[in-house]
């Protein structure tokens, strides 16, 4: 799975979690860009991605994420392992 595929799958999760089918994300998207992206939505995003990609994030990994691109990279690394 390349980064574009990952981003595409992530976008669908964002759309589900925020219940907004028109939502578009890119590498630079962060919590500041989406009004509803609070800490509660954050957990829902993380949990849904863990399930979608069948990976598990550690506390340390989550602490270093700043935007969607970071998340996609992290998922990419984990899928290669």
């Amino acid at each position: 799975m390349n980064k574009d595929n990952i981003l595409e799958a992530m976008q669908q999760i964002f759309r589900d979690v925020f219940d907004d089918e028109g939502l578009v994300i890119d590498n630079e998207t962060s919590a500041e860009d989406i009004e509803d992206w609070d800490s509660l939505a954050q957990i829902n995003l993380v949990i849904s991605m863990e399930k979608e990609f069948k990976v598990k994030f550690s506390l340390l990994e989550l602490a270093n994420l700043h935007n969607v691109g970071d998340m996609a990279d992290l998922i990419g690394q984990k899928l290669q392992q």
């Binding site: 219940d19 949990i47 506390l59």
Partner: protein
Amino acid sequence: MLAKSLEYPFDIPLLQKKKRAIKKELLASGKNFVSKKIAILGGSSTSEIKDMLELFLLKSGIEPIFYESEFNKYYEDVIFDGEELKKFKPDLIYLHTSYVNIMESPSLTDSAEDVEVKLMRLKEKFTSIWNKIQKDFNCIIVQNNFELPVYRSLGNLDFSHTAGLVNFVNKINIIFSQNAQQRAGFYINDINYLAARIGLEKWHDLGVWYSYKYALSYDAIPFLAHNLSNIIAAVYGLAKKCLVLDLDNTLWGGIIGDDGVQNIKIGNETALGEAHAGLQKYALDLKNRGVILAVCSKNEAENALEGFLHPDSVLTKDDFTSFKANWDPKHLNIKQIAKEINIGIDSLVFLDDNPAEREIVSSQLPEVSVPDIGNNIENFASYLDRAGYFEPISLLVDDLQRAKFYEGNNKREELESKFSDYGEFLSSLQMVAEIEHFSPVYLDRITQLTNKTNQFNLTTKRYALPEMVALSEDSNAITLYGRLTDKFGDNGLITVVAGTIREKELHIDLWLMSCRVLKRDMEFAIFDQIVSASLKKGLEKIVGYFYKTSKNGMVSKHYESLGFELINEDKDGSSTWEFKIDPCYKNKNKYIKVA
């Protein structure tokens, strides 16, 4: 149908991902919701719990309005009179606490007495919260018990040593259960069982504790919310009432029409037979505590009935209130069952091994709960049990006998139609009443009846159990309950009267009666006792109050019928009445023998 994800065993990834869309779908379902104000007071994070609870409640027909305490402010909000909570006026308070809220856990240096002191302090903390809630809000309380902790640093000794947290949790849980037995309007959300059921490894997740202060894993939250929603639905009378069962390959193995009664699988001869008997046993347990059973089977009626004559059948045909064995489509039969028993179609649960039958029923009658029980008989009862459809909130003797009460009523109605004179009918009932002052053994039932009676209720005042206890011990009060038995059976405790003495007057604060015994002259029998108790205390006058509500119109003329004089009538229809006690008062009751 996203909302299907809320049926046990739940589609958890879908619930988590699409909770907003599911909520929209439920709200758009056109259901008639009852609105309830629910305060969630948490000892850890509660946002996701609130979101999940909302979905499960909407599914049960309750539209919640929520109040959430600040993080870990469950104690402060109640004890220090949180303004917001006061303004919110909750119908129900849920205390979401867990083992992380045990502030003083036992330590290795503690003596057994030290641990006991810690235990008592924890108990005091919670009882002070519960007392204050009941005093300030007089609302329903749902309280978590404690789940087993993540670690047991003492290993297996953690269970048996007084310094073990496992030992401590088990002890505090016993204290909580004792409290639940004594306190009215108080229910335990048994997270200890729930955590054990889904497994502690799945229940605990320190990642979400350190990051977001959730005291349970994200995947455990739907289980918690579901369990809680079952209690809340039951409190508001929305639990399911009737279990509709298929026969062939459900209540017994095999097809009775083809195989014959001697060849169906039921009983201990085979593993399969034992599994079917297990399901029958579970259904019988439900029936014995007040769940109505019905049969819906594609069969010749004669063959279907024969199955229950099998010597190893646990159930008999008399266990079923409705029995439909024919070749009509099942959804039509199920509609008929609801009509026959006279309950809403949404209080039925349908159990069938055949997915095609389940499909047609759930598509034709979406209000009926149709658990997807798979096709392995050994799991059917577990699905039913874990879905929690029939959650009971208490088991009073009267609840256990409810089916009999209704049976008795049918017979009384039959009898009534045979008499031309109503007095003659009342005499023929051979009624015997027990009318006494409140006594401890009946206080639970007295409180329950007081808080749920709406129609024959003069003042509709509600009392929590502690207030009832105080009232029963007040020497300045006259309190009476009445039980009524007749030739068809025991009606149980069905009427309550309480009044306070001021000067030479008795002021009747409470007078109510179950509609089960309307028009039996029980109100006369108890009034005679009120008068005689008043005379003994040297009272001269009885003052009665009628507070009008939307439901108690039937008693607006109650005091008039007893010979009271109207003193005052408000614009809203409420009224005050007086009765001067004649020392030579003649009893009004003619048909009931007072034991």
